[in-house]
C-alpha cells in the first residue's frame, strides 16, 4: 500500500516526511503517465521506488524521539477501530459501566480472530471530527476505566484472554472526571488486573499516555509498535514543568526515554513489534497483520501457563521494574 498521504504529514508537523511524500507523489504521477507502456518511464519508476525505499529506511532509522511521538499521533495511523475492522472475524461490542454511563473513549467487546476468542479493550480516538469529539480524542473518563474492568471480569468468567489496545494522550483532566474518581478508577483497574485469572495481553499502538494508558496496561505480555511511545507525562507537559516552556517538548521527549526501544531496554515492555517500512500510517494492513500475528502467538503461549503461575509471573514482572540500589 503506497497511496500517498502527503497532506496529513505536513499538517502534522512531520517535516521529515516531506521529501518522502514528494517522492511518492512523483511516482504516482509517473504511474499515471505510464498508463500506456513507455519503457523508459517504467525504468524511471522502478528507480524512484528504490530510492524511496532506501530513503524511507534511512529517515526512519534516524527519527528523533519527538519525531516518533509525531508518528505515533499521525492522522493516518491505524486506530483501535481499524484493528477491529481489519483483524477480527467477529466483534460484539459491549457498552456501559453499569454505574454512570457509556464512555466512547474506550471500546470493549467480545472478539474472534482465526478461531481464537478473546475480550478486546481499547482506547478509541475516532476518525472523523464528529467521532473524535464523541470519543473525547481518546481521553477516557472514570466510566471508561470502570467499563473496561466490568468487561474484564466478564472475560474472566468466560475464561477468555484479554487483549488491550493502548492509544491515549492520557486520562481526561476535567471536573466530572475528578468528581467521579478518575484516580480511583485507574488505580482500581491496575490492582484488579493483577487478580484476573485469565491471560492479559497489551499492545501500545500509538500513544501510551501515562496513567490513562496504564489503566488498561497491566499485562502478562506488553508489546509496543515500533513508532509508538509510552511515557509518564506528555513531552509537552514535561517541558512546561521542567523547562518552563512547552516549546521544549522535543528536548523533553528526548529526556523521557519514551520510545519503544527505550522501554524495551528498560525492561518495561516485552517486545517491540516492527512496523512496515515508513511507519504504520503508510501500510495499515501490514501493521495490523503484524499485531495480529503477535497476539495469536502470545495467546497460544499464555494458554499453556497454569493460572497460579500466570498470576505469580504477572506480579514478578511489574515487581521487578525499576530496582533501586542499596547504597
Amino acid at each position: 500500500m503506497t497511496e500517498p498521504s502527503a497532506k496529513p504529514g505536513v499538517q502534522d508537523g512531520l517535516a521529515f516526511e516531506r521529501p518522502l511524500n514528494d517522492l511518492q507523489t512523483k511516482i504516482a504521477e509517473l504511474r499515471k503517465l505510464n498508463s500506456g507502456s513507455h519503457l523508459e518511464l517504467a525504468g524511471e519508476i522502478e528507480l524512484l521506488e528504490d530510492r524511496l525505499r532506501r530513503q524511507t529506511a534511512e529517515v526512519y532509522a534516524q527519527l528523533s524521539p519527538w519525531e516518533r511521538v509525531n508518528v505515533a499521533r499521525h492522522a493516518d495511523r491505524p486506530l483501535t477501530s481499524d484493528y477491529v475492522q481489519m483483524m477480527l472475524d467477529d466483534f460484539v461490542e459491549l457498552h456501559g459501566d453499569r454505574v454512570f454511563g457509556e464512555d466512547r473513549a474506550i471500546v470493549t467487546g467480545l472478539a474472534c480472530m482465526d478461531g481464537v476468542r478473546f475480550l478486546l479493550v481499547g482506547h478509541r480516538k475516532g476518525k472523523t471530527v464528529k467521532d473524535r469529539l464523541a470519543c473525547n480524542f481518546g481521553c477516557a473518563h472514570p466510566e471508561g476505566y470502570r467499563k473496561a474492568m466490568q468487561k474484564m471480569r466478564l472475560a474472566e468468567k468466560m475464561k477468555l484472554p484479554i487483549v488491550t489496545f493502548i492509544n491515549t494522550p492520557g486520562a481526561y483532566p476535567g471536573i466530572g472526571a475528578e468528581e467521579r474518581g478518575q484516580a480511583s478508577a485507574i488505580a482500581r483497574n491496575i490492582l484488579e488486573i493483577f487478580e484476573l485469572k485469565v491471560p492479559v495481553i497489551c499492545i501500545v499502538i500509538g500513544e501510551g499516555g501515562s496513567g490513562g494508558a496504564l489503566g488498561i496496561g497491566v499485562g502478562d505480555r506488553v508489546g509496543m509498535l515500533e513508532n509508538s511511545y509510552y511515557s509518564v507525562i506528555s513531552p509537552e507537559g514535561c517541558a512546561a514543568i521542567l523547562w518552563k516552556s512547552g516549546d521544549k517538548a522535543p528536548e523533553a521527549a528526548d529526556a523521557l526515554k519514551l520510545t519503544s526501544k527505550d522501554l524495551l531496554r528498560l525492561g518495561l515492555v516485552d517486545k517491540v513489534i516492527e512496523e512496515p517500512l515508513g511507519g504504520a500510517h503508510r501500510d495499515a494492513k501490514g501493521a495490523v497483520e503484524r499485531v495480529k500475528q503477535q497476539i495469536l502467538e502470545w495467546v497460544r503461549e499464555l494458554a499453556a501457563v497454569p493460572v497460579p503461575e500466570l498470576l505469580a509471573q504477572r506480579y514478578r514482572k511489574f515487581r521487578s521494574m525499576g530496582t533501586p540500589i542499596s547504597g
Binding site: 491496575i190 490492582l191 497491566v218 509518564v232 518495561l268 525499576g322 533501586p324
Partner: protein, 315 residues
Amino acid sequence: MAWTRFGKKKDMPGGLWIKCESCGAMLFRKEFEQRNRVCGTCGYHFTLPARDRIAITADAGSFEEMWINLQAQDLLSFNDRVPYGEKLVQTRLKTGEHDAMVTGTCTVKGIPCAIGVMNFQFLGGSMGMVVGEKIALLCEMAAEKNLPVILFACSGGARMHEGAVSLMQMAKTCGALTKLNQKGVVSISVMTHPTTGGVTASFASVCDLLIAEPGALIGFAGPRVIATTIKKELPKGFQRSEFLLEKGQIDRIVPRAQMRDELARLLAYATGRDPVAAYKPLPVPVEAEVVAATAAVEAEPEAKPKKKAKQKKDA
C-alpha cells in the same frame, strides 16, 4: 509592599514567624510547630515532613526503620538543567533522606503495624523506583507478618526524571497491595496535602480505608491542568478533602490532632482489638509499675495532645 517584604523575611526557614498559606495570618513558629504545623487561625494543615509525621503517629521509640539505604538509579541519564543524579545527591544532602519515602514498623497506641510515610520535602514527594520498591517491600513484609499497613501519601505524583520507570511504580505498588488482600490484611491510606497524579491513581486510592486530612488537595490531574483544559474557573473547594468526601471518594476526614487516636481505633477494628480502648492512654507497662509515680507523669503527654489542641482552639 512593606507587608510583603515583612512576610517574605519571616517566611524564611528558622524565622520566628511564618505566614499561613491559606489565610495569610502570621503564625508564631514555635506555637505553629507545637500544633504540628496546623494554622491556629484557620485550621489549615501544612505539609508535614515524614519524620515529624512518624513522631506524632507512632508510640515513642517504637518506630523501626527498614530499607533505609535504598537509592534511585538514574536509568535514563535524565537531564533537564541539572542532571538527575546530581539532583538526587543535592536533595539527599539538603533533606538528610535517601528518597521520598520512609518505611518501617511501629506500634500505634500499642497496636503493631507497618507504616510508610511520603516525604514531600524530597523532590515534591514524587514516586520513583525507591518509593515504589519500599511500598512493595512493606506490603510483602506486612502480608507475611500479618501486620496492618498505614500509608501516608503526600506527593505531586510520579517522578518525571525516572520516565516510564516511575509510571510502572503505580503497577508495582497496586500489585503489592493484592498481597495484603490475599492474606486478609487491612491497609489504610491517609491522603495529606497534596496527593495528586500517579500516587492518587495508584496505591493511595486502593487501600481498604481511605482517610484524608482536612483541606488537602487530592486529585488525579492538577487543578491548573484542568483549568487550562476546560478553559473555565474551577468550583470553590474543588479537589479538596471535603469535596472528595461529598463525592463519595473517601471514608473519613480526620484532623491531624486526632489522627493518632483515629488510626489506633481503625487498627483495633482491623486486628480484632478493642476500639474503645484505642482512645485511652497507653497502659503502664508492668515492669514500670515499680516506678509508678514517675510513669504516671510520663504517661500524661499521651493523653494530652487532644486536650491541648482543644484548649488552643477555644483560646
